[in-house]
């Protein structure tokens, strides 16, 4: 079947099998930031934004998001200029092996769009579905808080 995906503003008209998962389709299209890990909707590394909301691409049929807007980490940075959440993650040392980071960046981005001034608990609850086996989460919580401050600052300029 034929579907259209709008990924980071790029339109892709593609032929897929109705049983294809969004995760594999996005990776085949070259969006390699979308990571495959647990394959059972448990770890959050395959998170992408569909119409601005974080979902798990490993347990979503590509066919079911036909015509919808998808965002991956590739769409957040502009060339060499990283997104404030990415910057903050670097500054806080919140990425060690890095495998979970695309999912965490996108989940954080969705949170900050909805809630530009999240409390520590808001951040923890938002990241509930993103497993990181390196950091213990504290540095990532700090990074998202820091990014929120930076992003609010930008708005006031």
């Amino acid at each position: 079947m034929k579907i259209t995906l709008n990924v980071n503003g790029n339109l892709h008209e593609i032929n897929i099998d109705p049983g294809d998962y969004l995760l594999e389709i996005l990776r085949d299209l070259g969006y390699k930031s979308v990571r495959r890990s647990c394959h059972s909707a448990s770890c959050g590394t395959c998170t992408v934004l569909v119409n601005g909301k974080p979902i798990l691409s490993c347990s979503t049929f590509a066919a079911s998001v036909d015509g919808q807007t998808i965002e991956t980490v590739e769409g957040l940075s502009q060339g060499e200029k990283l997104h404030p959440i990415q910057e903050a993650i670097l500054e806080e040392g919140a990425a060690q092996c890095g495998y979970c980071i695309p999912g965490i960046v996108l989940t954080g981005e969705a949170l900050l769009r909805e809630n530009p001034e999240p409390s520590d608990d808001d951040i923890k609850l938002a990241l509930n579905g993103n497993v990181c086996r390196c950091t213990g989460y504290e540095s990532q919580n700090r990074a998202i808080k820091k990014a929120a401050e930076a992003m609010r600052g930008d708005d006031y300029e």
């Binding site: 998170t47 569909v50 974080p54 979902i55 798990l56 347990s59 066919a63 938002a126 509930n128 579905g129």
Partner: protein, 269 residues
């Protein structure tokens, strides 16, 4: 992928055809090889079945409404506060953005947290099919673990929850971690004056309702005794040993959560 209910009805039936809403449970089971349906009917392109409606005494929740939408709904927060209390504990934000109440219901897991809220809200399941519409109380709709009265050519169109704004809601879930965890045991309740509604998750083949204990609560009056209430409540459960916990541990958790429910009610009430 049907676009309306007429088309949906024409697609149902046949051997192992599965209806999919958010797919957060179904697709995980397919990926792991535990299930391989020959056909999946996805509700992704459906028009309708996505509303939360105020019906006066009841609230109707369409089968395509996601858990995240339920959490944001002011009508639900005001009229069925037990529901968001339970839904907040389900999965993760990513799961709640896709998962639906109807999906959790038809899976009929003994650990299906949102099903407990449906029991407490005396919910009615609106079932449609080629032969028209029928309605059934959630307690009779669910037959056992993974089993409901839904036949192959039927689907759940909506779920009606009784409004319970005058009740004090409580929900306690014990799991191995706070997010993404299937409950080891859970206890939910609604208390108002002399009436109590209570339900237990993960300690019987379906959500269990301790009817004898609820009756005792309503009739005992001055003689009410916590120990007797707990003893009667425990008659409703038949926990098992499994990978998540032992039967003994589950029983102990339920007993403690029942006591906590009474304590918190007295403090607040």
């Amino acid at each position: 992928m049907p676009v309306d209910e007429r088309e949906l009805k024409s697609m149902l039936g046949g051997e192992d055809c599965k209806i999919m809403a958010g797919g957060t449970d179904l697709l995980v089971r397919i990926r792991s090889g535990r299930l391989s349906p020959s056909r999946i009917v996805s509700l992704a392109r459906m028009k309708g079945m996505d509303g939360i409606l105020d019906l006066g005494e009841e609230v109707s929740i369409g089968s395509r409404v996601t858990m995240s939408e339920l959490l944001k709904c002011e009508l639900i927060a005001a009229s069925c506060p037990i529901l968001p209390m339970v839904v907040r504990e389900i999965g993760s934000p990513q799961i709640r953005n896709r998962a639906t109440l109807a999906g959790n219901l038809v899976n009929a897991s003994p650990a299906g947290d949102s099903i407990m809220a449906l029991y407490l809200s005396n919910a009615t399941v609106v079932i449609s099919g080629v032969n028209g519409e029928r309605r059934e109380k959630v307690s009779s709709f669910i037959k056992g673990p993974g089993r409901t009265t839904l036949s192959r050519d039927e689907y759940v169109g909506a779920i009606l929850l009784e409004k319970t704004p005058g009740y004090f809601p409580q929900f306690y879930k014990v799991g191995q971690r706070s997010a993404m965890a299937i409950a080891v045991a859970s206890v939910g309740s609604l208390i108002s004056g002399q009436e109590i509604r209570m339900a237990f998750g993960s300690v019987a083949p379906t959500v269990a309702v301790p009817e004898k204990a609820c009756e005792y609560f309503e009739k005992a009056g001055e003689k009410f005794d916590d120990g007797e209430f707990a003893r009667l409540a425990m008659l409703a459960i038949s926990p098992i040993d499994d990978v998540r916990a032992s039967a003994w541990y589950r029983s102990t958790v339920v007993k403690n959560l029942v006591q906590r429910t009474l304590n918190v009610w007295r403090k607040k009430g």
